[in-house]
C-alpha cells in the first residue's frame, strides 16, 4: 500500500517552472531498490576453489541484506585481471553496474591475503581500497570482513556480517541453545537438556547470555558463560522469572518476576547482585527492552485493558505509551539506532512484525503470519523473528525498511527466540 501510494505520488509530481530560465521539479523516491553489485576475484588458478568459495560467501552476505543484488558474471565485459590493471568504468556502466567490487586473493607465509577495491562506475570513482589478512584455515571470517568493508564503503553504515545469532531449538523432550553465524553457517549447540528454554539475551560484550531456563517445572533466570559453558542462577524466586534483557552498558539485567504477586519488571545489578523493582503498576508488566542510551525501558503492559507497549524513564520514572494502534502489541525490541521499536502487533486478525517510532507514530508492518519475538541486527537494518508454520517454527529475517522475509534456519527443526549479537 505504501509502495503504491508513493509510486502514485511520484507519478503525480508537481512540476513547477520558475520564472528564471532553470526548470525546477521534484522527484519522489518510490520504494527501496537494491544496488547492482559486480564481484570479480583474481587469484592464481590453484586457488580456484578458495576464491570461488570466498566470492560465494561475500555475495550471499550482500544479497541477503537486500541492499544489493549480485550480477551474473557472464555479463561482465572485463576480466578480473583486466580490471585490476585498469577499471574501464564505461564497460560497467553499460551493463548497469552500480558497485564494482574487485578482490585479489593470494597466499602468504602464514595464511591468506585479500586486497579489495570498491568502485562506483556511474560516478567514475574508486570509493575505497583495503587489504585483509587471515591465518590459514576457514575463509568465512575473512569473507565476512570483506562483506562488511564493501557494505560500509558503499552505504556508510557498518555491516553486520561478522555477527552471530543464538536461538532455541526445541527437540522432542528438551530444548537446546544454538549458536551460529548470521548467515546460518557454523551451527553449534552451546547448552542442552533444558526441559524448557526461553528468551536468550546477549550481554553487550558477547561473552554471556542471560536466559529463561526451567529446572523441573520451575522457571529460573540463568547466566550462561559462553566460553566456559557454566551456568549461574540469578533469579530463582517463586512464580515467574522470565524475559531477561541486558542493559547497554552490560551492568544490569531487566527481567520479569512475579514473586510479589503480579508480574513486574525488576532490574538486577550484576555488581551488587541485588534486584530492585522498576514498574509498580497493578497489572501485568513484562518483556523489557532497553533504549540504546540506557535511559528508557520499553515493556508490555495491560494497564489499560489490552496488552500494549509503554516506555518508562530510568531517571524520572515518567511513562509514555509507545503503541497507539490496535488491541494487541507485545514483544518490544528497541532498535540499536534508538529511533524505532519493533513489536508483534495484531492487525486485521493477523499477527505482524511491525516497527514504530518511539513516540508511537509511523507504524510499519513488515511480515504477517504466526510471528513472534523480533530481534534487531546490530546495525539496525535487519530484523530476525520466528515464524510458525504447520506446528514448526522457523527463523526468518527481513529488512527493517521492507523487503521480503527470507528463511535463516531449515524447515526441518523447530527454531524460536532468536537473539542477535550486538
Amino acid at each position: 500500500m505504501r509502495l503504491i501510494s508513493s509510486l502514485l505520488l511520484g507519478l503525480l509530481m508537481l512540476a513547477v517552472s520558475s520564472p528564471a530560465s532553470a526548470v525546477e521539479f521534484q522527484i519522489y523516491q518510490s520504494g527501496y531498490k537494491p544496488l547492482q553489485l559486480a564481484w570479480e576475484i583474481d587469484a592464481d588458478p590453484s586457488l580456484h576453489l578458495q576464491s570461488s568459495q570466498l566470492g560465494d560467501i561475500v555475495q550471499n552476505d550482500l544479497a541477503t541484506s537486500q541492499s544489493f543484488v549480485t550480477m551474473n558474471p557472464l555479463s561482465f565485459l572485463d576480466s578480473a585481471a583486466d580490471s585490476w590493471k585498469q577499471v574501464t568504468y564505461g564497460d560497467w556502466r553499460l551493463i548497469g553496474t552500480d558497485v564494482l567490487a574487485l578482490c585479489r586473493l593470494t597466499v602468504t607465509a602464514n595464511g591468506w591475503k585479500a586486497e579489495v577495491q570498491v568502485h562506483d562506475p556511474f560516478r567514475d570513482k574508486q570509493l575505497g581500497t583495503s587489504s585483509f589478512t587471515a591465518a590459514n584455515g576457514d575463509l568465512r571470517p575473512l569473507a565476512h570482513r570483506i562483506s562488511n568493508y564493501i557494505y560500509q564503503t558503499v552505504l556508510g553504515i557498518p555491516g553486520y556480517f561478522n555477527s552471530h545469532i543464538l536461538y532455541v531449538r526445541k527437540l522432542k523432550n528438551s530444548s537446546e541453545l544454538v549458536y551460529m553465524d548470521q548467515d546460518g553457517a557454523n551451527q553449534q549447540v552451546v547448552a542442552r537438556n533444558f526441559p524448557i528454554l526461553l528468551s536468550p539475551n546477549w550481554s553487550p560484550d558477547g561473552k554471556f547470555v542471560a536466559l529463561n531456563a526451567y529446572v523441573g517445572d520451575q522457571p529460573r533466570i540463568e547466566l550462561l558463560d559462553l566460553q566456559t559453558g557454566s551456568l549461574q542462577t540469578i533469579a530463582n524466586f517463586g512464580g515467574l522469572n522470565s524475559t531477561p534483557a541486558f542493559s547497554p552498558d552490560g551492568r544490569h539485567i531487566a527481567a520479569t518476576l512475579s514473586y510479589a504477586g503480579n508480574p513486574q519488571i525488576y532490574i538486577y545489578d550484576l555488581r551488587t547482585k541485588k534486584w530492585r523493582l522498576f514498574t509498580h503498576h497493578g497489572d501485568i508488566n513484562t518483556s523489557p527492552t532497553w533504549s540504546p542510551d540506557g535511559k528508557w525501558i520499553a515493556f508490555t503492559s495491560n494497564r489499560n485493558g489490552s496488552p500494549q507497549i509503554y516506555r518508562k524513564s530510568m531517571e524520572t520514572g515518567e511513562v509514555h505509551a509507545v503503541s497507539l494502534v490496535g488491541d494487541y502489541n507485545t514483544s518490544p525490541a528497541w532498535s540499536p539506532k534508538g529511533d524505532r521499536i519493533a513489536m508483534i502487533s495484531l492487525k486485521n486478525w493477523q499477527y505482524a512484525v511491525a516497527t514504530v517510532n518511539v513516540d508511537g507514530s509511523d507504524i510499519r508492518y513488515l511480515a504477517t503470519g504466526k510471528v513472534e519475538t523480533p530481534a534487531w541486527s546490530p546495525n539496525g537494518q535487519m530484523l530476525i523473528y520466528a515464524y510458525s508454520h504447520q506446528g514448526l517454527r522457523q527463523l526468518y529475517e527481513v529488512p527493517s525498511w521492507g523487503g521480503h522475509p527470507q528463511a535463516v534456519t531449515p524447515v526441518s527443526e523447530d527454531a524460536s527466540y532468536p537473539a542477535w549479537s550486538r
Partner: protein, 240 residues
C-alpha cells in the same frame, strides 16, 4: 540432414544452384546499377528550389496586439529611416500563400506572415549571453506549459526509475541537485546544491541521473532545459 542424404547426390544440386545463383546475381547487379543511374540522372534534373521557410511562433493574443502596435510604429519610423527595419526578401514565405506585395498593401496594415518580433531573437547570434536568457524566456513563454511538463515528466520518470535507495536512512533533508544538460540530452554537470546530510544518499542521486541520461529534450526549446534544479524527496520524508 543426415550425412548419407547429402552423399547420395553430391553433384547434381550444387551445379544447378550455381547456374541459378549466377543468373540471380546478374539480375541484382543490373537492377542496382540501373537504380544508381536513375538516381544520378534524377539528381541532375532536380533543380534545387530556393530555400523556403515559414516561421511559426506561438504567441498569445496580447503579444500579437503588442506586435501589431510595434509594427505600426516601425512602419511610421520607416518613413524617417527606411534602411533600418527593411524585411529581407529571403525570409518571406513565397510559395503556397504568396505574401501580399509591399507596394499593393497600405503601409499601416500588419502582415502576419512576416516574423517581425521574433526576427530579432531568431536571427541574432546565440553567443551573446543576455540574448540567450531573453531567448530562454521567450521560449519558456512560447512552449506551452503542457509541453514543458511532458518533457519534465519524462526526465522525472527516467530518474525515478533509476533512483536506488538501498536501505532506510535516518533523518535526512530533501536534497537539491543542479543538473546541466547538453542539447543532445547528455549530462554536462551535476552539483549537489543542498546535501541530504547522508553521503550515500547524495551519491545515489548522481548515480540515478547518470544512469537515466541521456534525456529526451525538445530540440528547439532546449534553452529551457539547460539548467535544471531537482528536489529529491526520500521515502522517509513522504507523507504516509
Amino acid at each position: 540432414m543426415s550425412p548419407s542424404h547429402t552423399a547420395a547426390n553430391p553433384h547434381a544440386d550444387p551445379a544447378d544452384l550455381h547456374g541459378q545463383d549466377f543468373l540471380v546475381s546478374l539480375l541484382v547487379h543490373a537492377l542496382v546499377i540501373g537504380a544508381i543511374i536513375m538516381l544520378a540522372l534524377w539528381e541532375v534534373h532536380h533543380t534545387p528550389e530556393p530555400l523556403q521557410r515559414i516561421q511559426v511562433s506561438m504567441i498569445t493574443p496580447g503579444e500579437l496586439n503588442r506586435m501589431i502596435h510595434q509594427a505600426a510604429r516601425a512602419k511610421v519610423r520607416e518613413h524617417e529611416k527606411p534602411v533600418h527595419v527593411q524585411q529581407k526578401p529571403s525570409q518571406m514565405p513565397s510559395l503556397s500563400k504568396p505574401a501580399p506585395k509591399e507596394k499593393s498593401k497600405p503601409k499601416e496594415t500588419f502582415n502576419p506572415f512576416v516574423p517581425l518580433e521574433s526576427k530579432q531573437d531568431v536571427t541574432t547570434s546565440s553567443t551573446s549571453h543576455t540574448h540567450n536568457k531573453a531567448m530562454a524566456q521567450m521560449q519558456m513563454q512560447q512552449l506551452s506549459q503542457q509541453e514543458i511538463n511532458r518533457y519534465i515528466a519524462m526526465i522525472q520518470a527516467a530518474v525515478q526509475q533509476h533512483w536506488k535507495v538501498p536501505l532506510s536512512l535516518g533523518r535526512v533533508k530533501n536534497p537539491l541537485v543542479e543538473l546541466r544538460l547538453r542539447p543532445d540530452g547528455r549530462v554536462v554537470s551535476i552539483h549537489i546544491l543542498e546535501s541530504s546530510g547522508d553521503t550515500a544518499l547524495d551519491a545515489s542521486l548522481v548515480r540515478a541521473i547518470m544512469a537515466a541520461a541521456p534525456f529526451q529534450l525538445p530540440r528547439k526549446q532546449f534553452e529551457a532545459f539547460r539548467d535544471n534544479q531537482i528536489r529529491f524527496i526520500p521515502s522517509v520524508n513522504q507523507q504516509q
